[in-house]
């Protein structure tokens, strides 16, 4: 087991190098630092000195990959690639274009993101599984057909409409919760209600439909027939046998997204004014702050790989038939 995890972690290294190279090519080769400087300084009538000054101030005035002027190891280290991209491996994110420490910002903004993402995941999971079990209990009746139609319709509504509708109805018409904003510590709860409700409702369509298919697949299996044949009630069959066995795919599906919860939700956070990582990313995109976007890409890749490894491990924990070698 330990050897397997170690090997998987080693496999992650080339992938992260690949991610890094790709972002490096996107950010520095396709568009040179000169282009970036011009864009930040305004598009027209920018003097050469201003461009050089901006580059020097932000550390973009070095050669891309190989510094011929330096000596020894500095030939490789005093380059943009080493300074801006390779340092990410040590989780040194550097500073953003407006001079703030990205690492500090990330550690601060992680918590509001989690405060939304974790309740949405848990409440959504509980609701979707119960609703799916309810549908499966009444399978092949009008309850089933009506629910499936409802789910497909809910699936076809853009997440933007859930947010706009939720804000409009709950905040503007009924004044039940503040439209947007955030507070420190425990006072934040009233700002979290609306985003969590909207997040859960927005996920019902896809989630419940997926769990329904999972349960229906299990219901048709032999062991369920055996359970019924020995006289168990439908309730017991569903909760003890079907749910138990369907939990394996559900659990592994959840584990894979767990690390990514840190990244927050781009749309939800920016709509509700939550100072999390999602809105951080969105702001970086709209301010064209490449340093932050680069850091978030790297962080996202690390968390994704972590998710994959956790999934494999969770398989062995819940399903004794799976052995990792």
């Amino acid at each position: 087991m330990t050897a397997y995890i170690l090997r998987r972690l080693l496999y992650a290294v080339p992938i992260l190098i690949g991610v890094n190279l790709l972002t490096f090519v996107l950010f520095f080769v396709v568009n040179s630092p000169d282009d970036m400087a011009r864009m930040h300084l305004g598009e027209k009538r920018v003097t050469e000195e201003a461009v050089q000054g901006w580059k020097a101030a932000h550390g973009y005035d070095r050669p891309l990959l190989y510094n011929a002027e330096a000596s020894g190891m500095a030939r490789l280290t005093e380059t943009i690639f080493f300074e801006k991209s390779a340092r990410l491996f040590a989780f040194q994110f550097g500073s953003s274009d407006d001079g703030r420490d990205i690492g500090y910002d990330i550690s601060q903004r992680m918590w509001p993101s989690l405060a939304i993402a974790v309740p949405v995941l848990l409440v959504g999971l509980a609701f979707n599984i119960s609703y799916a079990l309810f549908i499966v209990f009444f399978r092949a009746t009008y309850v089933d057909i009506g629910s499936v139609v409802l789910l497909v319709a809910m699936l076809s509504i853009s997440s933007l409409f859930y947010i706009i509708g939720g804000q409009f109805l709950l905040s503007k018409v009924f004044h039940l919760a503040p439209i947007s904003g955030y507070d420190t510590g425990l006072h934040a709860w009233k700002f979290l209600i609306l985003p969590v409700i909207v997040g859960v409702i927005g996920g019902i369509g896809a989630g419940t439909r997926w769990y329904r298919t999972l349960f229906l697949e299990e219901v048709g299996k032999d062991y369920v027939r055996t359970a019924r044949a020995k006289g168990l009630s439908e309730r017991l069959v569903l909760f003890r046998h079907v749910l138990g066995n369907a939990l394996i795919p559900i659990l592994t599906g959840v584990v894979v997204v767990l690390p990514l919860l840190f990244m927050g939700s781009l749309i939800t956070e920016s709509f509700f004014g939550i100072p999390g990582l999602g809105s951080y990313t969105i702001d970086a995109i709209s301010n064209q702050d490449f340093a932050i976007v680069r850091a978030m890409v790297f962080l996202g890749a690390v968390l994704y790989i972590l998710g994959l490894i956790l999934t494999d491990i969770s398989y062995t924990l819940v399903d004794p038939r799976v052995r990792l070698q």
Partner: protein
């Protein structure tokens, strides 16, 4: 000729897509095993009804894809080469030129005759009052809107309904005649068969859906000639016109993205599964790396790069339309880059299974080359996966466009799209009284398209998935 056709990049790709679709259709029509699943699709009520809805959207999108430049008026006697207007218009723009040109000053509610905001109006006697001024176009034929408007709307709607009904009856008659001819029976017999549901294809559903759409279309068309049926936006543009124009954007994102990603996904997926070994390793590494980057961030990074490129090479783009078009194409490309990995992995798994199948082993033992085995034995056997993915991905991509445009990394802000409409509607909802019509229009049109696509995709999946056959 008074028009000069203009083919934008995305137009060319759409034509390519249609040509490919037709070729595949012809090929499938001559092979029974390919025809059978399609027959199952059109034999389902939901499938047929949704196909009608999707084709209606497709027609609008197609009309909006043929672009032209109008010829400018030149003196009749001059022998100089004809001059063309710099503005690029689509056939849809020309067909709806009334809607496009009837601009108001600013917001007005659906069916309104007065502007949504008060303005200083000079009275005939010289005094100035603040009131809602009459619209320049919406309901301007009415002498006294307060009393006449209701009756006029009702009358116009009835007229539209009547026209739609007549048109529908004629179309239905033509379709009926065609079916009767094919079945070699009298039209009455065909009609009874259709009504009793004894035809393999549920024509009654198809015709009802067609009738519903035709009547709705004619009513809307008739009313739109006199009113702004979905109101006007901030700069006074007709919202109904905007939503119709947005259809093309949505359809293009949903279809071109898959078209762009298909070659890479099919080629690499099959190669990885078929050759295994180091080829497999390299391809797996490639898609894991791409997958590891959060999709939104990759798209954002790429779009940011495009913006930098465009602002540094502004002289390469002659018109706004071309610029927006190129951005749309680029968005499709980058969405394709982020979304081919799923299909690639599925195909790899399937190819891994197929290469061990007896007939592939036999072909390989007889010395058939790799290219032939892949082309003849593997590819046809994974096509159902490609098709199912293509249809299933469509609705997700349409929804993604709205979200991306909201974050400003979607289509060009000057382009009509549902995402841009929702984006601007955010501020409108904060007004008091609320400006709700842009958002509602985008919602209704988008919801209909995505719902139809989702329902159709389910039918296609059920018909094509061999595991579900016979259940």
């Amino acid at each position: 000729m008074p028009l000069m056709p203009v083919v934008l990049w995305t137009d060319a790709l759409v034509f390519l897509l249609i040509a490919l679709g037709l070729l595949f259709g012809l090929y499938a029509a001559r092979h029974e095993h390919l025809r059978a699943p399609w027959r199952r699709v059109v034999q389902s009520r939901v499938g047929v009804a949704m196909l009608v809805v999707l084709s209606a959207y497709g027609m609008v999108g197609l009309l909006d894809t043929v672009h032209v430049r109008l010829k400018l008026d030149t003196p009749a006697d001059s022998s100089a080469a004809p001059q063309y207007a710099p503005e690029i218009l689509s056939l849809l723009d020309l067909a709806l030129s009334g809607l496009r040109e009837r601009q108001e000053k600013t917001y007005s509610a659906p069916f309104a005759t007065h502007l949504f905001v008060k303005e200083a109006i000079e009275q005939p006697d010289g005094s100035v009052i603040r009131d809602f001024p009459r619209l320049e176009h919406g309901g301007s034929h009415l002498a006294d809107p307060a009393t006449q408007r209701g009756a006029d709307i009702l009358f116009t709607a009835m007229l539209g309904m009547l026209k739609g009904l007549v048109f529908w009856v004629l179309t239905a008659f033509a379709i009926l005649w065609l079916i009767a001819r094919r079945r070699g029976e009298l039209m009455e017999q065909t009609w009874t068969a259709i009504r009793a549901g004894r035809t393999p294809i549920p024509w009654l559903t198809a015709l009802s859906m067609l009738g519903l759409l035709l009547i709705l279309g004619f009513v809307a068309g008739e009313l739109a000639a006199r009113y702004h049926i979905l109101g006007t936006d901030k700069v006074g543009e007709d919202v109904f016109f905007q939503t119709l124009k947005s259809i093309r954007t949505g359809l293009l994102i949903g279809t071109l993205t898959t078209l762009v990603m298909l070659p890479a996904a099919i080629l690499l997926g099959i190669a990885a599964g078929y050759f295994r070994g180091w080829v497999d390793d390299v391809i797996q590494y490639l898609y894991t790396t791409l997958n590891a980057i959060p999709g939104v961030l990759l798209i954002a990074a790429a779009i940011l790069m495009l913006q930098v490129y465009m602002s540094n090479h502004a002289e390469d783009f002659t018109s706004l339309v071309e610029r927006a078009d190129l951005r749309l194409l680029f968005l499709c490309l980058i969405l394709g880059v982020t979304s081919w990995t799923g299909l690639c992995r599925l195909l790899r798994g399937e190819a891994l299974k197929l290469r061990e199948v007896d007939y592939v082993q036999a072909a390989s033992a007889l010395g058939v080359g790799h290219a032939t085995i892949i082309g003849r034995h593997i590819l046809p056997n994974v096509m159902h996966i490609v098709l199912i993915t293509l249809v299933l991905d469509f609705s997700g991509l349409v929804l993604a466009e709205a979200v991306l445009s909201y974050v400003n990394i979607g289509v060009d802000p000057t382009m009509n799209s549902w995402g841009n409409m929702i984006n601007s509607a955010r501020l409108e909802l904060a007004r008091d009284p609320v400006v709700w019509w842009s958002l509602t229009a985008a919602f209704v049109f988008m919801f209909t398209l995505v719902l139809a696509a989702n329902l159709f995709a389910d039918v296609v999946r059920d018909a094509f998935d061999p595991r579900l056959r016979g259940i």
